[in-house]
Amino acid sequence: MKMNLQKISDRIATAAIYIMALVTVLPLFLVVGYIVFYGFKHLSFELITRNPAPVGEEGGGVLNGIVGSGIILMISMAIGIPIGLLGGLYLADSPDGKWKHIIRLSVEILQGIPSIVIGIIGYILIVLPMHRFSAVAGGVALSMIMLPIIVVSTEEVLRMVPVELREAGIALGMPRWRVNLFVVLRTGLGGVISGILLSLSRVAGETAPLLFTALGSQFFSFKLDRPIAALPLQIFNYSISPYPEWHSLGFAASFLLLIGILAINIITRTVIERMNYKNG
């Protein structure tokens, strides 16, 4: 009898866990399924080879958004990666002290700032002085979101590098900066790169910070000091528009963005595995 009771409660607990797990992944499947369902059927070659068409006209694509997102992400990486790596190295290597405390606190606060506020900061820092919305402003805003992610992941990875390796380098007469770069960073490189890629996939879909900075554009542009299109902005604009053909473009663009972010994540995993097994 007692045995039975145990069995029943075991079954109930197991079922509860399965249901919870299902509830957890359900939203993911809903969102992805919805986008794939509506986005996939509007996919066309035109989507990635043409710019948006004027209202009322059939067809058109999001080429300018793809290129614009690419440019903005490049700018944000150019700012975020070097500063983030140095910050992570500093936190991992230096002795505890006032500066380290301040930097760590700043990074934590930066991580908690809502992305729309980051957009406003970008607006005040770059757009107002330049008197113009621009790709650079968008890149700066996104780099502020990337930065703390890279700092934290870099620090964590570098801390996991055994102290014996660091000391082996020092004992061979290497200056500290060389030890940091060629031993510590090199040993943790796989993890550091995956941290960077994760931060990239995180900001690739950001819309709010771009509203006040890159602004968006209907046109194809390479100019860094002009407003520029971005995929998330286009999705936003298309989906709040009253035109059904724009809605379908929005779904198709969402699908593209999803694929892009998925690709980054897959690359990340591959990089981690490569770095773990390859030896130079």
Binding site: E167, A168, I170, A171, L172, G173, M174, L189, N279
Partner: protein
């Protein structure tokens, strides 16, 4: 026999601190050229700290400080550029620590490569072969030079680390319990190697293993609670120690 000029390292009134905690207390000792000096003593007595002072690795840990003087070839080690000093005074660690991101070949010449010194192919080939022969590893690894050092056994990895250390041609090799993580056969090989290396290098070895100290060292220092209790010829220390505490430790009454 014990002339001043035989001393390659001279420790004078050395004290070391972790914060307020004094881990070495006014140590005085002289290390003779091309001899093996063993440092023995119970856990936490400051053995490792002492040798980490010699290549100034101790100072790289935060919240540490030193008092006293160490002379290397009659010159204060504190007047040396630490990176140059460490090329003269190499170190082998307790756990084998080859660089996992480099193959065996590059691990041997890591002291050059990582310091940005380019070697000609013929030069580095020769150096890798010679150095690996010196540590009696060449025959075992010559076919797998471009593989990961992690494929080697612990003992082989440790000999690779010794190779990496002597490749930059130091005069002194510090060894921090180099056999602690190894099996008896690997340990025997390393001990044999140390007796070989003694011809060209001064070796200072920290060991927990008293038999090891008795087997290989010429001189033995016995440390206890940061204090250098006794220092002398190994035979004398192990057969007729002058200090009662040394005798008690060696006969296994404590520690």
């Amino acid at each position: 026999m014990t002339s001043e000029s035989d001393n390659i390292l001279h420790v004078k009134n050395l004290s070391a601190f972790y914060g307020e905690n004094k881990v070495l207390k006014e140590v005085d000792m002289a290390v003779k050229k091309k001899k093996i000096t063993a440092i023995i003593g119970p856990s936490g007595c400051g053995k490792t700290t002492l040798i980490r002072c010699f290549n100034r690795l101790f100072e790289t840990v935060s919240n540490t400080s030193l008092k006293g003087e160490i002379l290397y070839r009659k010159q204060s080690i504190f007047s040396y550029d630490p990176t140059l000093l460490r090329k003269e005074i190499g170190m082998v660690f307790q756990r084998p620590n080859p660089f996992p991101t480099m193959n065996i070949y590059n691990n041997v010449i890591a002291g050059y490569r990582l310091n940005g010194r380019r070697l000609r192919k013929s030069e580095s080939d020769r150096m890798v072969e010679e150095t690996l022969k010196k540590v009696a590893l060449w025959d075992e690894v010559k076919g797998v030079l471009f593989r990961s050092p992690r494929e080697l056994s612990g003992g082989q990895q440790q000999r690779l680390c010794i190779a990496r250390t002597i490749a930059v041609s130091p005069r002194v090799i510090l060894m921090d319990e180099p056999c602690a993580a190894l099996d008896p056969i690997s340990t025997a090989k390393i001990e044999e190697l140390m007796l070989e290396l003694k011809r060209d290098y001064t070796i200072i070895i920290v060991t927990h293993n008293m038999q090891q100290a008795a087997r290989i060292s010429d001189l033995t220092a016995f440390l206890m609670l940061g204090e250098l209790v006794e220092f002398g010829e190994t035979d004398q220390i192990f057969t007729s120690p002058k200090n009662k505490r040394t005798e008690e430790y060696i006969t296994g009454r404590f520690g």
